[in-house]
């Protein structure tokens, strides 16, 4: 029975040794690899952030030269976005989606493994540039030409890293779509899907539509550099701004690719710990879909200052403001879910509540920057640095953290150390605000982003911000401690784990069997989502 892994026998016959991981076709093992990879990248990218904050601790250059500083900002962003957040989201999807929809595994298990294994190689390619003549990419993660065309030997490595990441993401997204559309257990209709699954359907569509455009854009840059094309050069009839249009056509959906899975996670956690069904399930689904759909029509709000014609600037302003409506609906639904619930405050719940507040603050500043005339002042200052870190750190990353704490007992079969978890939360939640809130002031006061040194008038808030940064960075080590402790042992987790948990994943044992649902469960209205 060499091919019989999926057959009706219930005993787990896990492959053993290193081959279990290298050749895996198991959604849980692949999910675990994604999550571990994301954690490693989170610390590498975080170390780069520490270099940045150390240099900005006080005016004057103390530690690194400006070129290296630019390499750090560029690599920090690339690693955090493509190495930490996206793989973390895919890792959670891998672990949870088959369990949530009652499937034995992902639809295309071998391709699943390829999606993962491309990633470490892609980042070897990218990180190797740090040791090259001329150093790593230093033109910003947005890679605008002509600046990025000035890169030395790192240039083709950067482009091909993007290609690899694109292949990985597209294969992963295809797999998720095939899984959700085709692998649902009987009775698991679309409107019974857990919200996390819904956000991932939409994220996967965003990936498939956006990543190829990005691949095309960087390919044009490659030929501009090496084969004398003129896509991004006015001298040949092209336009450097064309790259920005293509980039942000990808880039704006990309930010929703990062945040939507976090929306999904929070939508699972709030009902669990409020012991109350999610408020407005249908409107949550439609709002998410609306946000994703609109994300393809607002890209140029990232580039108001390039000097578009008036009609263009007005259109992109209105379209951007429109996104505030479905986003607001989501926030209101979450709060209505809490309303008249019976709340307890375990670590996943704490991270989720902080997510709502701090993500909303990021949303407010996002709305402010959507207003074109004032964006002319905010653009490319620390104000936007504060904005996107609010939506990505206490937004997306807190969402992922919440998910990790929420599902860790299910994955390992043990409860994590709640005290350490709460320490991790409180230290993170306080320091993240110390880190990023002052950056609003810096930006408004006129400090541009991506500079290694600044006038002394910006010194105080930079110092506060750096202190917050160091505390935040160190606090994340607690997560590692919690996870390792939890994997090694601890109080045995029940199948349901949390008192208020509903859904198929909580009907499986903790830890779940190697193949999740070998016989599909029958789903009814009562056993569906919470």
């Amino acid at each position: 029975m060499s091919y019989g892994a999926g057959h009706d026998d219930n005993h787990d016959h896990k492959p053993t040794g290193i081959g279990r991981w290298l050749f895996s076709t198991n959604h849980k093992d692949i999910g675990t690899m994604y999550l571990i990879f994301a954690l490693i990248m989170f610390f590498i990218g975080g170390a780069m952030a520490m270099v940045i904050r150390a240099e900005l601790f006080q005016p004057g250059l103390q530690f690194v030269n400006p070129q290296f500083f630019n390499q750090m900002t560029t690599m920090h962003a690339l690693i955090m976005i493509f190495g930490a957040l996206m793989p973390a989201g895919v890792g959670l999807a891998n672990w949870m989606i088959p369990m949530m929809i009652g499937a034995p595994d992902m639809a295309l298990p071998r391709m699943n493994n390829m999606s993962f294994w491309i990633l470490p190689f892609a980042f070897i390619l990218l990180l190797s540039t740090l040791f090259m003549d001329g150093g790593a990419p230093a033109g910003g993660w947005t890679m605008y030409p002509p600046l990025t065309l000035q890169l030395g030997n790192a240039f083709p490595f950067l482009i091909f890293t993007i290609h690899l990441l694109g292949i990985s993401s597209i294969l992963g997204a295809i797999n998720i779509i095939a899984t959700i559309f085709n692998m649902r257990a009987p009775g698991m209709t679309f409107m019974r899907l857990p919200l996390f699954v819904w956000t991932w359907i939409i994220t996967a569509f965003l990936l498939i539509a956006a990543m190829p455009v990005f691949a095309g854009a960087v390919t044009m840059m490659l030929t501009d550099k090496f084969f004398d094309t003129s896509f991004f050069s006015a001298a040949g009839g092209g336009d450097p701004v064309l790259f920005q249009h293509l980039f942000w056509f990808f880039g704006h959906p990309e930010v929703y690719i990062l945040i939507l899975p976090a929306f999904g996670i929070v939508s699972q956690i709030l009902p669990t710990f409020a012991r109350k069904p999610l408020f407005g399930y249908a409107s949550m689904v439609y709002a998410t879909a609306a946000i994703a759909f609109l994300s393809f029509f607002v890209w140029a709000h990232h580039m108001f200052t390039v000097g578009m014609p008036l009609a263009g600037e007005l259109y992109f302003m209105y379209a951007t403001m429109a996104i505030a409506v479905p986003t607001g609906v989501k926030i209101f639904n979450w709060i209505a879910t809490l309303w008249k619930g019976s709340m307890t405050f375990e670590t996943p719940m704490l991270f989720s509540l902080a997510f709502i507040v701090l993500f909303t603050i990021g949303g407010f500043t996002g709305l402010m920057m959507g207003i074109t005339p004032v964006d002319f002042q905010y653009h490319d200052t620390y104000f936007i640095v504060a904005h996107f870190h609010y939506v990505l750190v206490p937004g997306a990353i807190f969402g992922v953290m919440a998910g990790i704490y929420f599902w860790l007992p299910k994955w390992t079969g043990h409860m994590y150390n709640e005290t350490l978890g709460k320490w991790h939360f409180w230290l993170s939640a306080v320091s993240v605000n110390v880190l990023f809130f002052p950056q609003h002031f810096l930006g408004l006061a006129g400090m541009p982003r991506r500079i290694p040194d600044y006038n002394v008038q910006f010194a105080d808030w930079n110092m506060v911000s750096s202190l917050g940064g160091f505390v935040f960075g160190l606090s994340q080590l607690l997560l590692v401690v919690v996870v390792i402790q939890c994997v090694r042992g601890g109080q045995k987790a029940t199948d349901q784990v949390w008192e208020g948990a509903h859904g198929l994943e909580w009907t499986l044992p903790s830890p779940p069997p190697f193949h999740s649902f070998t016989t599909p469960p029958q789903v009814t209205e009562a056993t569906a989502h919470s």
Partner: protein
């Protein structure tokens, strides 16, 4: 993680929130957007404040409700979970109300944007060109043209391990060798472009920034109400020294401006005559040292060491110690990241820099390059 540190951070957060909460602090330049000195910047500031107040109000309501719920609807207080999960009317309300608020914001925003686009009937026009890493200003009506780069004091202090405390430098990183001079109470058209990579020209007090795109002109205008010195910086990552290309705008009365224009014209005539006379080695070396520091040292480094893989070393370099014609050619016409200096420097400057490079550090070719040689090679 000590409890003390936690307390400190908590205190810091409280301090931050207090600053934000106090209306007076919001008017402080260090915390909030500048009101600026142009009609545009006033409108932008007002718009900024309106939206800030609206989102703050929304935040208070939303977080208030949430906080109330978190406080009261907790299990430890004996709260029993209700099981409602739907209310069409509420959902319609919280979809419609935001739409109305957004429309309320969009109206003034649209008006301001249209106002900012009225570049016509300007009384004078200047062209701003971004270079790595300095600005060039062309007064198109007057024929005046000059570069504006980071001031020497800041430039020395900003070097890594310079040993100079930035606090001792006046306007550290926000001072230039030659500021842009503009008249007040004049509608000025500002055309922005770049020579190499994308930069962004930003003086907060004017109320906007605009990208400088190589090969394209971006069209803007300003009308400065009050005389004064207004400072800004490049706002688009443009490479290694992106943080070191400030903008200083000296707004003066119309009379002072007219006098300044005359002065500049005279200076330019004088400078143009320099290339016709014979220069001595010492003169060239002395001038070359300053030209080198201002134009070459940021990449090839002050001692000509260069950076491996990016910028070739000049100390002992092949071109610097090779034939003069090739050396002149690469300085004039550039190559890869090397700028086209014939567009930036005059014959005397180029001759001086080349002479300096060929006779400094370990280089001792003994060559004296006359400005006339450069003039012919152009």
């Amino acid at each position: 993680m000590s409890v003390n540190k936690l307390k400190q951070t908590v205190l810091a957060v409280i301090a931050v929130s207090l600053f934000l909460a106090s209306g007076t602090a919001l008017a402080d330049y260090a915390l909030n957007l500048t009101e600026g000195v142009t009609p545009t910047s006033h409108r932008v500031y007002e718009l900024h404040m309106i939206i800030l107040y609206i989102v703050t109000a929304i935040g208070v309501v939303v977080f208030g409700v949430m906080g109330w719920s978190i406080f009261h609807h907790r299990k430890s207080k004996g709260a029993v979970a209700h099981q409602f999960h739907h209310s069409t009317m509420t959902e319609i309300i919280w979809t419609t109300v935001p739409i109305l608020i957004l429309i309320g914001m969009a109206v003034p925003a649209t008006k301001t944007l249209i106002f900012m686009k009225q570049t016509g009937d300007a009384e004078m026009t200047i062209k701003v060109t971004g270079y790595q890493w300095k600005w060039k200003y062309d007064y198109l009506d007057e024929g005046i043209s000059f570069f504006s780069a980071l001031h020497q004091d800041s430039n020395e202090a900003r070097q890594i391990d310079s040993g100079i405390d930035p606090n001792t430098i006046e306007n550290y990183l926000l001072e230039v060798d030659k500021p842009l001079v503009l008249p007040v109470e004049t509608k000025i058209r500002i055309l922005i472009t770049a020579a190499d990579v994308i930069h962004a020209w930003w003086v907060p007090d004017l109320g906007w920034k605009r990208d400088a795109i190589p090969g394209f002109i971006n069209d803007n205008w300003t009308y400065i109400k009050e005389p004064g010195v207004y400072r800004g910086q490049c706002a688009e990552l443009c490479g290694k020294d992106h943080g070191y290309m400030p903008i200083v705008l000296n707004a003066v009365s119309k009379e002072e401006y007219a006098a300044w224009v005359e002065e500049q014209k005279a200076e330019q005539i004088e400078a143009a005559s320099g290339s016709d006379r014979e220069w001595s080695m010492d003169e060239l070396m002395e001038k070359g040292k300053t030209v080198y520091a201002a134009n070459c040292a940021s990449c090839h480094l002050p001692e000509g060491q260069g950076i491996e893989g990016l910028f070739p070393a000049l100390n002992g370099g092949a071109i610097v110690n090779g034939p003069v014609s090739e050396h002149v050619n690469i300085v004039l016409n550039g190559k890869n990241m090397m700028p086209v200096f014939k567009a930036q420097l005059n014959d005397v400057d180029i001759a001086a820099a080349i002479t300096y490079e060929r006779n400094s550090w370990d280089n001792s070719t003994g060559d004296v390059i006359q400005p006339s040689v450069v003039k012919i090679a152009r």
